[in-house]
């Protein structure tokens, strides 16, 4: 009986240490899955990316107040037939943390929504595509900061022929490769 209890104690210690470590390593930001998109040739569809910052943490906004701070940034890896229009990040909340009340930081916490538009070009080919996206962020809590992380995402896009359903792709839209 005593031996069993000791063994149980040992197992619990290992498990709890594992749980604590796993909690520390858990992503501070999660993303909602992105629905499959359908876009007509020469047209566009609006995109919405929903992120959730874990309670007790914050991440820098897209425009942090100090040059050393790492901005939250969404980048894309796209097939040549697709273009991402200008991304619209929400404004950051200006906060001061207890440890440094004099410094104002522009941060996101809770739910964060980034808007964008997905455009096709007139020379795009119809068919199915996969768009890969990545959110780069750097999180902190009240007393510590955590190394920059990348949160990968992907969604499917179908380009179909037909009448235009949205604005024409702008020639000055971002190039069809990696963007922010």
């Amino acid at each position: 009986m005593k031996t069993n209890l000791l063994a149980l104690f040992g197992v619990m210690l290992v498990l709890l240490a594992g749980v604590a470590r796993a909690q520390e390593q858990t992503d501070k930001v999660t993303a909602d899955p992105i629905d499959d998109q359908k876009v007509r040739l020469g047209g566009s569809v609006p995109l919405q990316f929903n992120f959730h910052v874990k309670q007790g943490f914050h991440i820098n906004s897209n425009q942090p107040t100090e040059p050393e701070l790492i901005p939250t940034r969404l980048t894309f890896s796209l097939p040549e037939d697709l273009v991402i229009g200008k991304l619209k990040y929400p404004p950051g909340s200006m906060i001061s943390l207890a440890f440094d009340p004099k410094t104002k930081l522009s941060v996101y916490s809770g739910d964060v929504v980034v808007h964008a538009a997905l455009l096709t070009q007139s020379k795009s080919a119809t068919g199915n595509y996969t768009v890969h996206a990545e959110l780069k962020y750097q999180a902190c809590d009240d007393s510590a900061c955590y190394p920059p992380k990348r949160l990968p995402m992907a969604f499917n896009v179908k380009i179909v022929s037909g009448a235009r359903s949205g604005p024409k792709a702008r020639p000055n839209a971002q190039s069809p490769h990696i963007h922010n």
Partner: protein, 182 residues
């Protein structure tokens, strides 16, 4: 049987408490600080080995340019180095940063750091694992870790730990000041 269940529940509760309180602060006292040799930024071809500082109390402070709380404690570190340097304290700043040397040095100069800044690397993450920054490891004159602190604490807690590393008395109640820094 009933006693066994109560015992197990107590063990679980105690273990949870121990694991989570150790997240920010842990006391050493017996473990030797893992030795390392790192490049000293701003000094051509110069490296520094931790074990070469035996006989001194060493505060190994891990930081990064993107870490706001690290920045907050830097003026305190400057003051503590000035105050306790003559008594045998050596602070080492380890930049765990992807930025280039020039950027790190410019930042260090801007902050007026008066102690060596070393270029960190992934191996240091293995030697001194920590998810968060700042990480401060207090090493006594015999090369033993006396305290390891993750996250920002108050200047008085840092001073307390430095005194402990110098052998000038032990840290009284470290947890109280962790809370006061928040």
């Amino acid at each position: 049987m009933k006693n066994s269940i109560i015992f197990i529940l107590l063990v679980v509760a105690a273990t949870f408490g121990l694991v989570f309180s150790a997240k920010h602060m842990s006391k050493g006292g017996t473990a030797a600080a893992p030795d390392f040799t790192l490049k000293v930024l701003g000094e051509k071809d110069k490296t520094l080995q931790l074990s070469s500082l035996k006989g001194k109390a060493v505060l190994v402070n891990f930081w990064a340019t993107w870490c706001e709380p690290c920045k907050v404690e830097m003026p305190w570190l400057v003051e503590l180095q000035r105050k306790y340097g003559p008594q045998g304290l050596q602070i080492l700043g380890v930049a765990q940063d992807d930025s280039d040397e020039e950027t790190i040095l410019a930042f260090s100069h801007k902050m007026g750091l008066n102690y060596p800044i070393l270029q960190g690397n992934n191996h240091m993450n293995d030697l001194y694992p920590s998810q968060g920054l700042p990480l401060s490891v207090y090493v006594d004159r015999n090369g033993k870790v006396v305290q390891r602190v993750v996250g920002l604490v108050s200047e008085s807690v840092m001073e307390d730990a430095i005194k402990q590393a110098l052998g000038q008395g032990s840290s009284s109640d470290s947890t109280k000041s962790t809370a006061s820094a928040k």
